[in-house]
Symmetry: C2
Subunit: 340 residues, 2 copies
């Protein structure tokens, strides 16, 4: 049974165990600093498909298939799959997962979806609704560019605050941990984000739009749990990039919180200067692929023991922006621990 | 604690109580057979806003505000809100709910979202993650037409199999029922749908695309629970309309199940012939507004005691259809009962 602590945080008494995880990425990510940590690295940004959207679906398939394989499981062993992506009507997930025949819950949290799907999957296991569940998300640079910005052929200029959508997917299998005694990574607690909108309207500066949401959720978690940033080995945000990360540190500092041990998946996955990605990586697939490779492997190795994973999302659409609306943002946080 | 029964169905031991509900609709729905059952009926399809998308957000606000008011609650009393809609990036929900400051879970299940949100909200309460949660969805004829089909000004012809997207929203407040003894409506069980794709490609015949998913989920629930259709006062699908409803009965009949007591929200909300809506109503707001008015009020009055609510969704997008893809569909089912 879950227990509410403080105003917004939920503690999972026994914790929910991460059984396995996997990440699949495209060619640019395979040239980045985390290259060797990914399970699947494609040299073809189409992944053998005939459209970028189908390529994104393929990434989800690869991530889920690999995570299941690593755990020695089949799709029939999974009771629920929680998935989402950035594409209109979340087609990356629907088409990517339709052949698995696993009961399917579609989520939309923009780039925060990896944390949201992990929270929902953990909740389903904690409640007994599922014995075993999968959380998966994806994004693709090319499908995102043409949907949110311009067709690639147009060669649009990117301002320095812009981020580069990651071509990648990450999947996690979670299950009950009651009857297990082996070392494992646990979902110990989580905080579901509120929508925060400080009226940023620049679609080329998502970091600035999302930083206040991250600050809100991280502060809520620390207050609810009575802990400090230094109590964690890593506090990792989803894809604030350079601009948003600086703003997050500033916002929390103004509240008296010195955010130690912070990093951002968007800054980890690319070498921003060498790879010419301006302010860093972004997209659902950014935090998903970094979590499901480097971070969880470092936890498996015992080099990271207690991690706060806080993925951030910008909930606008091209339509809302063209109608003059500001960018509402959200951040969901998961506390992962390799200590029981 | 939830209990899995059969392969895919989940039984909520104590049940989760529906504390209140409300529906808000547009002018066409207010001229339909269910007119008097809706809480809010707008004569203006813009609802005082300057775009159809903002009008849809306004519908969600009205549904949630009214449901809270009927229960004597404020937004601070709600721990989680589960919401989704049909618009790209689910902006109907994000903008509609951003001012409530309630921790927000975005869902995407196309027109199945009302059942999905009710399932997730119930799961959150059952697990102890939330003491009280809200489920809400919406759709708007005008925002859907221009996004999925043509701008209204184009005056596109609608084939006879086409359905009319409902302008409406429905919201439900759920909470624990342990300490309550008053008569109430309970979520007793649910079945999360699988993605079913029988390769229908006609975007003007969603009923045909979705019927196999509804048949799959209804059959799974009946098998898992060992019950028959006649054990329920009403088995109501979301928005199969005329074409899909006939197909559902045929598909189940071929499996030896005579689907008694069936109706469809898309056929209930409009007088199809008089209101010229061809095959019936559709959209997330269709099943949401019919559930949160007529159905739940009939249950409150004791005229319906045991209801299976099975909302159906088509998970394609205009992009996937233009790329030659078929239409994957899904149906989620909730068993509602006014008997403890």
């Amino acid at each position: 049974m879950a227990e509410r602590i403080g105003k917004r945080t939920v503690s999972l008494k026994n914790g929910v165990a991460l059984r396995s995880f996997a990440a699949a990425v495209g060619p640019k990510e395979a040239e980045g600093p985390l290259a060797t940590w990914f399970d699947v690295r494609s040299e073809d940004e189409f992944l053998g498909e005939d459209s970028f959207e189908k390529a994104e679906s393929r990434l989800q398939q690869l991530a889920v298939t690999t995570a299941l394989k690593k755990a020695g499981l089949e799709s029939a062993d999974i009771d629920l799959i929680f998935a989402g992506d950035l594409l209109n009507q979340c087609i990356g997930s629907a088409y990517g997962l339709r052949d698995f025949e696993i009961p399917f819950v579609g989520l939309y949290g923009a780039c925060s979806t990896m944390a949201l799907s992990l929270i929902m999957a953990s909740m389903s296991v904690e409640s007994g609704v599922a014995d075993r569940a999968v959380a998966v998300t994806s994004s693709h640079f090319c499908s995102s560019e043409r949907q949110f910005r311009f067709p690639l052929e147009y060669g649009g200029q990117r301002p320095p605050t812009a981020q580069w959508t990651v071509t990648g997917s990450g999947a996690v299998v979670v299950e009950r941990c009651d009857d297990r005694s082996d070392p494992m990574i646990l979902v110990k607690a989580f905080t579901v984000g509120k929508i925060v909108d400080l009226k940023v309207t620049d679609m080329n500066n998502m970091g600035a739009a999302m930083a206040p949401a991250a600050a809100d959720t991280v502060a809520a978690f620390l207050t609810d749990t009575g802990t400090r940033p230094q109590d964690y080995d890593l506090i990792v945000t989803g894809d604030l990039g350079m601009v948003g990360s600086k703003l997050l540190l500033k916002l929390l500092s103004e509240q008296g919180t010195d955010l130690k041990n912070h990093n951002d998946c968007g800054l980890m996955i690319f070498d921003c200067e060498r790879q010419d990605v301006h302010a860093g990586g972004s997209g659902c697939g950014c935090s998903a692929s970094v979590l499901c490779s480097y971070i969880l492997q470092k936890m498996t190795l015992g080099e990271l023991k207690s991690v706060l994973f806080c993925a951030t999302g910008a909930l606008m659409s091209p339509t809302s922006s063209m109608q003059g609306e500001s960018i509402p943002a959200i951040a969901h946080l998961v506390h992962l621990s390799s200590e029981k």
